[in-house]
C-alpha cells in the first residue's frame, strides 16, 4: 500500500459577503443564501470551476431549523456539483475557524486536495420556540389518532404558554451572558472604560480607513438582497463601520450589563450581524501545480477551554499559549495579529492575560507570561466591533484579513485568536512562504 506523508495546507482564496447589521440589508436573505454567495464568489475569485472542490465545510451557530446541515444546502444553492459532500460544524464564534481547521486536517492527511471552508450566520432570522408545555401539546396532538384526542392534547395549554421563548445568548451552564462576563473580566483585570472606548473608536477608524484604502478589494463580494417592497438591491459594503465614531460619543453611551458601575456598552461591543465567509484551502503541492496563489500556510492551530464559571472569554489566552509554545515561537515573531473583538473588554483582558506572569502561572501552569502585545498592534484594518460579527462567519474574515495584512507588511508569521461561548478559545498560526 502506498504511504502518504502529511502535507502542507495553503490558503488560496477567500471571499466574504458584506457584513450587515441584523435586521438590515440581509433581513430577507437566509444563512444558506449568504453562505452560497460567499462560496460561489470565492470559487470565482480563484478562477476555478466548482468541480475542483473535494468537500465543503461550513460553520454556523444558529443553524436554520429547516436546514441544520447548511453546508450541504450551500453546495446546492451555489449550484456546485451535487456530488460534493458537505457537513456543518458548530463551535460558537469559532465555527468558521473549526471549519477551516477541519478542512486543513483533511488535506494534510491526504483525504482531500481542495476544500472550501466557511461560515454563515443570520441573526435576522433566528428560530423562535414555543414554551415547553405548548410544544408537548403539539407533540401529543401529532400522535393522536382521533380528532377528539387531538383536541384533548391541548387541554392543559394556557394562553401564556403561547408566548414565544426568546432565544438567549446566555450560557446554559452558568446562565451568564457574554456581556455580563465581559463586564466581570473588565473589573477583575482592571480594564478601564476609557481604554475600551478608545479601542472601539480605533476599530471603527481603522475599518473605515481600510475600506477607503481598498484593502477589501476582491475579498468582499457584492451580494444581492431583496429590498423593502419589491426588487433587489446590491450590497457592496459593510454597514457598521462608522466614520463618526468618536471617543466623546462612545463615552456618552450607558453601560448595558451593569448600569451603575459597568463599562461595557453597545459602542465597545460587537453588534448582531448577518453575513458569510468562505476560504479555499488546498494542499500546497496542488496549489503550486495549479499556479494558485499561496496566501499562507496554516502551520498549526489550537483550541482550548477554560472554566466558564470563572471567565467566559479568556479561552484565547490558553489557546495562544499552547500554540506558540508548541511551535517555539514568541508573540514578537508575529508580524500581524488578528484578535476577534467580541468586546473591547475581552480583547484587552486577553492581552492582559497573555502578558501577566501571575495569570499564566495560575491558570496555565506556565513559568511566566506568554508575552506582551500592544493593543494598537492588533486588528489594524478594523475588527468585529466595527466590521460586525456574524458568529459563524467571523473566522473566515479574520483569516483573510490576517493573510492580506501579512502580504502588505511582508510578514512571515501571523496569528489569529478568537474567543467562543462555552469559555473556549482558538489560535491559528499562518506562515507566508
Amino acid at each position: 500500500m502506498k504511504s502518504r506523508k502529511v502535507r502542507n495546507v495553503a490558503v488560496v482564496a477567500g471571499v466574504r459577503t458584506p457584513f450587515c447589521k441584523a435586521g438590515g440589508a440581509f433581513v430577507r436573505r437566509s444563512a444558506v443564501e449568504l453562505g452560497a454567495a460567499a462560496a460561489r464568489e470565492a470559487v470565482l475569485s480563484l478562477g476555478i470551476r466548482p468541480e475542483r472542490l473535494d468537500q465543503v465545510i461550513f460553520g454556523i451557530v444558529s443553524a436554520p431549523v429547516g436546514a441544520p446541515n447548511i453546508a450541504r444546502e450551500v453546495v446546492l444553492q451555489a449550484a456546485f456539483p451535487s456530488t460534493i459532500p458537505a457537513y456543518t460544524v458548530s463551535r460558537a464564534c469559532v465555527s468558521a475557524n473549526q471549519a477551516v481547521t477541519n478542512a486543513a486536517d483533511q488535506i494534510a492527511l491526504g483525504r482531500a486536495d481542495v476544500v472550501l471552508a466557511g461560515g454563515a450566520e443570520t441573526l435576522s432570522d433566528v428560530p423562535i420556540l414555543y414554551g415547553r408545555r405548548f410544544r408537548d401539546a403539539l407533540f401529543a396532538a401529532s400522535k393522536a389518532k382521533t380528532p377528539m384526542a387531538r383536541l384533548r392534547a391541548f387541554q392543559k395549554v394556557r394562553p401564556q404558554d403561547l408566548a414565544p421563548v426568546a432565544p438567549a445568548i446566555a450560557e446554559p451552564s452558568t446562565g451568564e451572558t457574554m456581556g455580563e462576563s465581559a463586564e466581570k473580566m473588565a473589573k477583575d483585570f482592571g480594564v478601564r472604560r476609557e481604554d475600551q472606548d478608545l479601542f472601539a473608536a480605533n476599530s471603527h477608524a481603522r475599518a473605515v480607513a481600510a475600506w477607503e484604502a481598498g484593502h477589501f478589494k476582491g475579498r468582499v463580494a457584492a451580494v444581492s438582497a431583496p429590498k423593502g417592497g419589491s426588487g433587489l438591491q446590491i450590497v457592496e459594503r459593510d454597514d457598521h463601520p462608522r466614520a463618526d465614531s468618536t471617543l466623546d460619543k462612545l463615552a456618552k453611551l450607558r453601560p448595558v450589563f451593569d448600569r451603575k458601575v459597568g463599562s461595557v456598552t453597545a459602542g465597545n461591543a460587537s453588534p448582531l450581524t448577518d453575513g458569510a465567509s468562505a476560504v479555499i484551502l488546498a494542499a500546497e503541492e496542488v496549489a503550486r501545480a495549479e499556479g494558485w496563489p499561496i496566501l499562507g500556510i496554516l502551520r498549526d492551530y489550537e483550541y482550548a477551554a477554560v472554566d466558564p464559571f470563572e471567565h467566559l472569554l479568556m479561552g484565547p489566552v490558553a489557546a495562544v499559549a499552547r500554540a506558540v509554545d508548541r511551535n517555539e515561537l514568541a508573540l514578537s515573531d508575529f508580524g500581524v495579529i488578528e484578535m476577534h473583538e467580541a468586546f473591547a473588554a475581552q480583547v484587552l483582558a486577553n492581552i492582559h492575560g497573555l502578558g501577566s506572569d501571575s495569570y499564566c502561572r495560575e491558570k496555565l501552569g506556565r513559568s511566566g507570561a506568554v508575552g506582551e502585545i500592544d493593543p494598537a498592534f492588533v486588528n489594524q484594518w478594523g475588527g468585529s466591533i466595527s466590521l460586525g460579527h456574524p458568529f459563524g462567519a467571523t473566522g473566515g474574515r479574520l483569516i483573510m484579513m490576517l493573510l492580506d495584512q501579512m502580504a502588505a507588511k511582508d510578514a512571515q508569521f501571523g496569528l489569529v485568536s478568537a474567543c467562543a461561548a462555552g469559555a473556549m478559545g482558538s489560535a491559528m498560526i499562518f506562515e507566508r512562504v
Partner: protein
C-alpha cells in the same frame, strides 16, 4: 415501435403493457407506415383471452408521443393519401376506444397532437408531475386541426369552452391544469407512473374505479353547453375571437370551429366522420404547407453542422459556463434561458443598480416559472444564475456574451479587457444587433474565437438565434455557437457580417419604409393595420415605438450609409428624438401610451395626431386612398427584395436561413413561409412585374435584385436554384 409485454397467466389481474418506442428516433411520432404495426398489436391482444387490462406507456425518456410525423404531411401531395392516412388513424383509434378491457394511458413527457388524441381513446389517463410533461393539441400552429378524433372527443370529455381554448390556441397544458380540466384523471410522480397505471387498471377491472368521461356539470356548463342555443353562443364568441386574432388569414381555426360546431350536435361516430375531409382540405392548403415547411426547415437548421473545410463536421464544444457582460434586460433574459437549460450563468454589470435590476428580473422570472412548474423544479435553474460587479472567474467560462449598450468604443473596451483575462479557448460573442462585428473585433488578438450571437427579445419566447460570422470566425467557434443554440433550444441561422446582418437589415427597411409612407401622407393606422392585415404580427410603426425610435433611427442611419439609394431616415425623426419622443419607453412616440400623461392609466394606445405636424404629408393624401392591404403588401415586398439582396451578397447562405430568420426574427407573415417561399409560391415573374410597377411609382426601395430577375428569367424558384 410498439412492444407488447404480457403478464404471466398466473398473475391476477393479468395485464398487457404496450410500450411505445419508435426505433432510431429520439422521440415518438406516429407515421402512416406504423399504423399496421398497431393493428397487429391490437389483433394479438384480442387473441389473448386472459388479458384483463392494458397499460399504454412510452419507452422514451421524456416524450409520450410528440404527435404525428410532420414529414407525412409534407410529402403528401394528393387528397387520397391524406384521407387514407386519416381514415386508417380513425379506424385504429376507434378500435382502441372500443376495447373490451380498460386501457390506461401512462403519460410522461410531451403528449402532443396525435399522442394526446391517442390518450383520449383510453379509459383512464395518468400523467407525471414532471415539468417535462406537457399536454397540447398544437395542430393549429401548423395550419391544421386535431383531426384524429381530437376535435370530436375533447369537447365531450373536458367541455366545449375548455376544448375550444386548447384546440384554437394550441396552448400547453401542465399536469396540475390537466387534472383540473379533466384531461387526465390522476397525477403521480415519475417513479410511480407504471405502478400507478397498473394499480388503476386493476381497480378499473374490479370496478372500484369508475372512469370519468365528461366534465363537471355546473350551472354555467348546463346553460352554455347543455343546449344547442348555448353551444351556438359559445361557438360564435370563439369565432369572433379567432377572426380578431387571425384577421381571416389562417383558415385552420375557423375550419376547426366549423367541424366542432357541426360535430357537437351529432353522435360521436357521426362527428368523427366530419374530420377527415376537412383535415385533408387544410393539409393541402398553402397556409398549412407553409407553416409545416417552416417547422421542418427549422428542425433541419437545428441539426446543421459546420464543415472543417475537408468535408468533416466540426464537433462544437459544449457551454457549461456562460459569462454575460452587461446586465440589461437582454443579458438577464439570456441568463434565465441558459440557466434553465443547465448552463451555469454569471451576469456582470459595472454598477449595482443595473445589476440589481437584472437579478431582480431573473428572480421575477423564476417566481413566475415556479407558479407553473413548482418551486422544486426551478431551484436548480435559479441557483445557476449569479451576478457580480467584476469579471472575476470569467477565465473559467466557456462562452462569454457581451450585451452592453450599443456603443462601438465601449464594446471594443469590453473585449480588450476580456481577452486579457481569458484563455484562448474561450469563445467571445457580441450580442450587438447592428454594429459591424468586424469593427467590434478589430483589435482582438485571436479573431477566430469571435462571433456574433444576436438574440431576439423576449429571449425565452423568441425561437431564433442569429449567428454572425466575420471573415475570421473559426469553424470551431461557429460549431460552439451552434452547439450553444442547440443547448438553449433556439433555431440557429448562420449569416455573414454586414450592415445590420440579415434580420436587423431587413427589419430596418420595414420600419423606415413605413415612415416614408407617413411622409407620403398615409396615416399611422392605415400603415399598421395594413401590415397586420397581410399577416405581420405587429405593424411597423407600433414596432418602431416598441424598439425605441432613437434605437431604430440609429440602426437605420447605419443602413442608410450602406445603402443610400434604397433607405433613408426622414430628418423629422431627429426632431422627434430631440423632443424626447422615443416610443413606448418614454410614453410617447407615434402613439401616446396610457399613463404617459399621468392621467389615463388603462386603455389602448392611441395615435398622437400631433405627429403629422412633423411630416409634410400631415396624414392627408389627396385623391385615391389605397387599401391598407396594399400598404401591407408593399412593406412585405420591400422586405422580400432586401432579403433577396442578402442572399445575393452572401449574407445569407440559403433561402431556408432567410425564411426562418424572417419569420422567427422579425415576424415576416408566417403563413407565407418566409420571403423566399412566398416568392416561389407566387412566382418570381409575377413578383418581378409587381416590383417594377411599384418602383416606377415609389422609388428605389422596390428595385428588383439581379437574382430575382435571373430566377424569373430561368422560370425557376429559389428553393430549386
Amino acid at each position: 415501435m410498439f412492444k407488447l409485454s404480457l403478464d404471466p397467466p398466473e398473475v391476477s389481474p393479468r395485464l398487457a403493457v404496450i410500450t411505445i418506442d419508435r426505433e432510431g428516433e429520439k422521440v415518438n411520432t406516429i407515421a402512416p407506415d406504423l399504423l399496421p404495426e398497431i393493428e397487429t398489436i391490437l389483433d394479438a391482444l384480442e387473441g389473448e383471452p386472459g388479458i384483463q387490462g392494458v397499460v399504454l406507456i412510452s419507452g422514451k425518456k421524456d416524450t409520450f408521443v410528440a404527435g404525428a410525423d410532420v414529414e407525412t404531411f409534407a410529402k403528401a401531395t394528393t387528397r387520397e393519401e391524406i384521407e387514407r392516412f386519416n381514415r386508417d388513424g380513425h379506424r385504429i383509434l376507434n378500435r382502441m376506444a372500443a376495447a373490451k378491457v380498460p386501457v390506461v394511458a401512462a403519460i410522461h413527457g410531451a403528449c402532443l397532437g396525435a399522442g394526446l388524441e391517442l390518450s383520449l381513446t383510453c379509459t383512464y389517463r395518468i400523467c407525471t408531475d414532471s415539468p417535462k410533461t406537457v399536454l397540447a393539441l398544437p395542430e393549429v400552429m401548423l395550419g391544421l386541426f386535431p383531426g384524429a378524433g381530437g376535435v370530436s372527443r375533447l369537447p365531450r370529455m373536458i367541455g366545449l369552452r375548455e376544448a375550444l381554448d386548447m384546440i384554437l390556441t394550441g396552448r400547453n397544458i401542465r399536469p396540475r391544469k390537466a387534472k383540473k380540466l379533466g384531461l387526465v384523471d390522476e397525477v403521480v410522480s415519475v417513479e410511480a407512473l407504471l405502478p400507478a397505471a397498473r394499480y388503476a387498471a386493476a381497480r378499473l377491472i374490479k370496478g372500484d374505479l369508475k372512469p370519468k368521461h365528461e366534465p363537471k356539470q355546473d350551472a354555467a356548463r348546463v346553460m352554455l353547453e347543455g343546449n344547442p342555443f348555448g353551444r351556438k353562443l359559445v361557438l360564435r364568441q370563439a369565432r369572433k375571437t379567432v377572426e380578431r386574432k387571425t384577421k381571416g388569414l389562417y383558415p385552420a381555426p375557423l375550419v376547426a370551429l366549423d367541424v366542432i360546431g357541426r360535430g357537437i350536435e351529432l353522435p360521436l361516430a357521426e362527428a368523427l366522420k366530419l374530420e377527415g375531409p376537412a383535415f385533408a382540405e387544410l393539409a393541402l392548403g398553402e397556409t398549412s404547407k407553409s407553416l409545416v415547411s417552416l417547422f421542418r426547415r427549422s428542425n433541419d437548421l437545428k441539426k446543421q453542422t459546420v464543415d472543417d473545410g475537408e468535408g468533416n463536421a466540426v464537433e462544437g464544444t459544449q457551454t457549461a459556463r456562460l459569462g454575460l457582460v452587461g446586465g440589461g434586460f437582454m443579458g438577464a433574459d439570456i441568463a434565465v434561458v441558459a440557466a434553465e437549460k443547465g448552463i451555469e450563468t454569471r451576469i456582470r454589470d459595472i454598477a449595482g443598480e443595473p445589476l440589481a435590476r437584472a437579478l431582480g428580473h431573473v428572480d421575477a422570472y423564476f417566481k413566475r416559472r415556479a407558479r407553473s412548474v413548482g418551486k422544486a423544479n426551478v431551484f436548480k435553474a435559479q441557483a445557476r444564475v449569479s451576478g457580480g460587479l467584476t469579471l472575476e472567474g470569467y477565465e473559467t467560462m466557456d462562452l462569454i456574451i457581451e450585451a452592453v449598450p450599443e456603443n462601438l468604443e465601449l464594446k471594443k473596451k469590453v473585449f480588450a479587457e476580456l481577452e486579457s483575462i481569458v484563455p484562448e479557448t474561450t469563445v467571445l460573442a457580441s450580442n450587438t444587433s447592428a454594429l459591424p462585428l468586424s469593427e467590434i473585433g478589430a483589435d482582438l488578438e485571436h479573431k477566430g474565437r469571435f462571433v456574433g450571437l444576436h438574440f431576439f427579445s423576449p429571449v425565452p419566447k423568441m425561437p431564433l438565434l442569429e449567428i454572425i460570422r466575420t471573415e475570421h470566425t473559426s469553424a470551431q467557434t461557429l460549431a460552439a455557437a451552434l452547439r450553444f443554440a442547440t443547448q438553449i433550444g433556439k433555431t440557429p441561422i448562420i449569416v455573414r457580417d454586414g450592415p445590420g446582418f440579415y434580420t436587423t437589415r431587413v427589419l430596418g427597411f420595414y420600419l423606415m419604409h413605413a415612415l416614408e409612407m407617413v411622409l407620403a401622407g398615409h396615416t399611422v393606422e392605415e400603415i399598421d393595420s395594413g401590415a397586420r392585415k397581410v399577416g405581420w404580427p405587429v405593424g411597423p410603426i407600433t414596432l418602431l415605438d416598441e424598439v425605441g425610435i432613437d434605437v431604430g433611427a440609429k440602426v437605420a442611419k447605419t443602413l442608410g450609409k450602406a445603402f443610400p439609394e434604397r433607405i433613408q431616415v426622414p430628418e423629422t425623426v431627429d426632431s422627434f428624438i430631440a423632443e424626447g419622443r422615443l416610443g413606448r419607453k418614454s410614453g410617447r412616440g407615434f402613439y401616446v401610451y396610457p399613463g404617459a400623461d399621468g392621467k389615463k392609466k388603462k386603455g389602448k394606445k392611441e395615435v398622437d395626431a400631433s405627429v403629422y405636424a412633423f411630416f409634410k404629408g400631415r396624414g392627408e393624401l389627396g385623391g385615391e386612398r389605397p387599401h391598407p392591404e396594399e400598404l401591407g403588401e408593399r412593406l412585405t415586398l420591400v422586405c422580400a427584395m432586401e432579403a433577396i439582396r442578402c442572399l445575393e451578397e452572401g449574407i445569407l447562405a440559403s433561402p431556408d436561413d432567410g425564411d426562418i430568420g424572417a419569420v422567427f426574427g422579425f415576424g415576416y407573415p408566417p403563413m407565407r413561409g418566409g420571403p423566399f417561399r412566398h416568392i416561389d409560391t407566387l412566382g418570381a415573374g409575377v413578383i418581378l412585374d409587381r416590383v417594377l410597377t411599384l418602383k416606377g411609382r415609389y422609388g428605389e426601395a422596390y428595385a428588383a435584385p439581379e437574382l430575382l430577375k435571373q430566377i424569373a428569367k430561368d422560370r425557376t424558384t429559389f428553393a430549386a436554384r
